[in-house]
Amino acid sequence: MRYLPLSPQDRAEMLGVIGVNSIDDLFVDVPQSARRTGLVDLPLHMGELEVERALTRLAAKNTAASSVPFFCGAGAYKHHVPASVDHLIQRSEFLTSYTPYQPEIAQGTLQVLFEFQTQVANLTGMEVANASMYDGSTATAEAVLMAHRVTKRGKAVFSGGVHPHYLHAAETLAHATQIETVALEPAIDGEAKVIDAIDANTACVVVQTPNVFGTATDVTKIAEAAHAAGALLIVVVTEAVSLGLLKSPGAMGADIVAAEGQSIGVGLNFGGPYVGLFAVREKLTRQMPGRLCGETVDADGKRGYVLTLSTREQHIRRDKATSNICTNSGLCALAWTIHMSLMGEKGLRGVAEISHAQALKLRDALKSVPGVEILTPRFFNEFAIRTPGSATAVVEALAKKGVLGGVPYARLHPEGGFEDVILVAATETVTDADIKAYQTALSEVLA
């Protein structure tokens, strides 16, 4: 077996050193009834070629995003990732290292985390960012629990524009901890409706911009209303590239930003792994979940980095920790940071502007298709369209024509009342020819 270096002779010698006769003597503590003598009912080992052949066959059954005109978004976006990103994250020293608990021999990872935290804080317009969460949805759930800890209040209000999966993940956790969740009716342009739902027991309001329908909203007034009532404002962002064009949540008064970082540096991966971005106001730092990297000096006075404020975390605080999170999304955070460093502000703004421009072109192209109605008033790179009949059927028919034309809203929220709505996204990877292909295919499907 190519991954197991011990030879039969090694094993025999080692058993001798240990002073036992057989490997079974090392498993004597397993109860007799649970000792399995034979092999489990699974295939025997395979060579690299055989495994590659089998998995390549499975992969070939899927339509890769890059192989067709592609317009899916709804929380996961196809952006171009420079080749050097994937090369760098596969360096052994990054790929095969552990959490940097021994800072003297983990400065590479630690400095990257310090750069990541700074980039995330600057991008979101916040003061402090952590070293990553699993993804945007779990970051949102954690933000709600954090707001409950900070305010000691028991209710979280969600706008009707929050991604239904995010709402759902937060509800799952809130239910167990007996935090009441109030989810407003799905609304294409209704983030501000949360203001009317704020009361004296509201720990936080959760809004998303651009929201799941693509609508971009200035949440300043919502922040003011939340703060006046003693509640925190959580702003969710599912498309991080939008922050290259749109006002930052921090500038609009957010207390916590929970964002999905996937669209920078991380591929689509059928849903994971992604990277959760989590940023807060400085005064909330000690209530944050997750790891934090901080600057310090070594014994010779040289600058270096360590994991810090760890008393918030499970390995020290145990049942009083701010979260149970341990493993986070380290390598995806590295990819995020490298991609961001290659873009810089200039490149990020460029990618954002092109994505926006392509989305506007796409809107104009689809608007001209008979039967199509554009629903989203202001958007970055994603908008909702209404087509006659079932959106799911339309998307399926488009797929048969070789166009992945978006996500039916009903896939995210079947009872949400938008069975005829498709969420359509464009990025810098969408060409004018792709837009034309979509327009043609949709015209044919709706004809």
Binding site: R286, T308, S310, T311, I316, R317, K320
Partner: protein
């Protein structure tokens, strides 16, 4: 000054008790990096957590040995937590509590009893 088995000290002046952690406790914790003290007006029951003290690798709840109302938290520790290491039984105090029942304090160990207790650890 009186002491608890949880290594808090209490010093009573009239009906106001000053509370901190002992030199032994401060040494056990190592370098103190953060202290959270209670705000004035907070009602505290005997045995409730009234402060949190943290080193890099440990976090400890400080339990109030008395019941009463917080008169003052030691705000100076916010920017100078190292005071707890430098002067744990003096300037490193955590809070002052107006005690409901002074007998709570009398029931605690005196210095000799606490030293004897430490010798058993």
């Amino acid at each position: 000054m009186r002491f608890t088995k949880d290594h808090e000290w209490v010093s009573l002046d009239g009906d106001v008790a000053t509370i901190g952690i002992t030199r032994y406790a401060a040494e056990q914790l190592g370098d103190v990096v953060f202290v959270e003290t209670p705000e004035a007006g907070k009602a505290v029951n005997k045995g409730d957590g009234c402060a949190v003290v943290e080193s890099v690798k440990a976090a400890s709840d400080v339990y109030s040995p008395v019941s009463g109302e917080v008169v003052e938290g030691n705000a100076a520790l916010g920017s100078a937590p190292e005071t707890v290491n430098a002067d744990p039984e003096g300037a490193g105090w955590f809070c002052k509590i107006k005690v409901a029942n002074a007998a709570d304090v009398d029931a605690l160990m005196d210095r000799a009893a606490y030293d004897a207790f430490l010798a058993t650890l």
